[in-house]
Symmetry: C2
Subunit: 306 residues, 2 copies
């Protein structure tokens, strides 16, 4: 049994009001697999890089017990590169450079050793590639989580709608939920989106936490108020990785476990933004994670006496 995470493995150059980086390792699958590795030991990555991606970079995955057999390395080609600059409020950013490189014709390979997949995280990529991964698995995983973004709603809505029929959980942000559904109210949006295929919808609201919708139930998870958000890059992917990693660990998919999974994902994401790139989430201890989760418990617990 294993957890497959597919998504970009890339280089990012990030500028925030606090400073800027050279090319550092990033990408949705990078953040998500590192986050998941804190909860589950059989994480397997699917992605593609160029030969500018060095052994050191791959070692980071290996040290976290992440299987990289499904990470294709294209000789003579370059890895996906993204560069962006965050505004002062850290809630908006400008993309400075996007070089697709190896991602332009990415054809995901699922190694035979990955066919024991029980949990599948489809990180943000073209809906067609996401769909291809599902079709290349011989057995349908117990849980398929899909992350996407407004860009695919703009340019590949039909493919996205087809892919949504095949998944169990969709994670998007509030603006994307509004765009996908055509509804401003998130309650109305959730009803329309749950009718598109997913049984669970997670709406990420950044500094305002997250909402989980399932049937007629809703759960509101808080975000940890932070004095300093240093670099938001990868927070959503870290959330998704922590979320599915926790579910893979507990093994049973239900509303209660999903609520907890959201808290664990949020805790990992709250670490992610404290330093540039993956710097903070490659060196966490179990104790740090447990203490952060306890902060979320303290943050949101109240006891109403009847």
């Amino acid at each position: 049994m294993s957890l497959i995470i597919i998504g970009t493995v890339a280089f990012d150059a990030i500028e925030t009001p606090f400073g800027k980086t050279d090319k550092i390792v990033g990408g949705a699958a990078t953040y998500a697999s590192l986050a998941a590795s804190y909860f589950y030991k059989k994480v397997k990555i699917v992605g593609v890089v160029g030969d500018d991606f060095h052994q050191d970079d791959i070692d980071t995955f290996t040290k976290h017990g992440i299987n990289t057999e499904g990470l294709q390395i294209k000789k003579g080609e370059k890895s996906f590169f993204w560069s962006g600059k965050y505004h002062n409020d850290m809630n908006s950013r400008d993309t400075l450079i996007t070089e697709l490189n190896v991602l332009a014709d990415f054809d995901p390979i699922i190694p035979e050793s990955y066919q024991d997949c029980e949990f599948l995280m489809l990180g943000n990529l073209t809906p067609q590639v996401q769909q291809t991964v599902i079709k290349r698995l011989k057995n349908r995983p117990k849980l398929i989580v899909l992350d996407t973004m407004n860009f695919w709603m703009d340019v590949a809505m039909d493919d996205l709608l087809e892919t949504l029929k095949l998944v169990d959980v969709l994670t998007i942000n509030d603006e994307e939920a509004r765009q996908l559904s055509g509804e401003y109210s998130l309650v109305k949006a959730s009803r329309k989106i749950l009718a598109m295929g997913p049984k669970y919808l997670i709406i990420k609201k950044g500094e305002h936490g997250a909402l989980l919708f399932h049937e007629d139930k809703v759960f509101s998870a808080p975000a940890l108020p932070l004095a300093e958000v240093f670099d938001p890059t990868g927070a959503g992917d870290t959330f998704a990785g922590g979320f599915i990693g926790y579910l893979a660990k507990v093994g049973t998919v239900n509303f209660n476990n999903m609520k907890n999974a959201i808290i664990f994902g949020s805790a990992l994401a709250s670490f992610c933004v404290e330093k540039f790139g993956t710097e903070k989430i490659i060196n966490l201890t179990e104790q740090e994670v447990a203490a952060r989760v306890q902060q979320f418990v303290n943050l949101s617990t109240f006891t109403i006496e009847a």
Copy 2:
């Protein structure tokens, strides 16, 4: 022992995407006192109206057990009037008309029968009038809650800072917390604001809930996701009234009771927005309020097993 609520008692004309009203009764003290009356029976209002405010309008308070001895009625003058139009997202609005009328030279009168005040809610008004009320009370109440807005930060910041030194709890929204502190991060903003006087700071985030800061503690309260927000007018005042009404009922001021007070205040506010003006909050049953509070419990409860 009693709870005094001071603030505007006014007429509003409201336009939303769902419809528009003629002049209806509104004002911060109206919403807050009605909300408080669901939890506490000795609510006393301080305000001023013109003789366009009819006996029927006063009867609404009386029916809820609200003492109106401190509500001045100015013969031959007109009540404060506000008219506004909400945009499609319901999060922003244009003020169409503001007629101060009797509010222009409001001198709050504290009847002798109000001198048993233990809980004091200073609704949004000029900081000087708010301060006058504190000074006219012979004994300092056990708890003073102050609500204010960006307008007073623009035109009367010095007065506001003086008044803040005298209160226990400040309720403002996230943009106002940023303006008052000069800090974007709400954690940093809270530290600066708590150094200005208040021991507790409540930051209202509308559809994203509320944050309570006290010493080094923080509590995040969810907002109930609603399919339809019909009219947001008065939601903040309803929240504040429910909040202090609940505290007056339990009598003891501490962090735990404040957390519950925020949930009860949020529950009342979630009713407020379901109809125009005060229409929904003048006719609630105890059972409806209890069921709504239970929705907040269900919405935010999770159980992490160690």
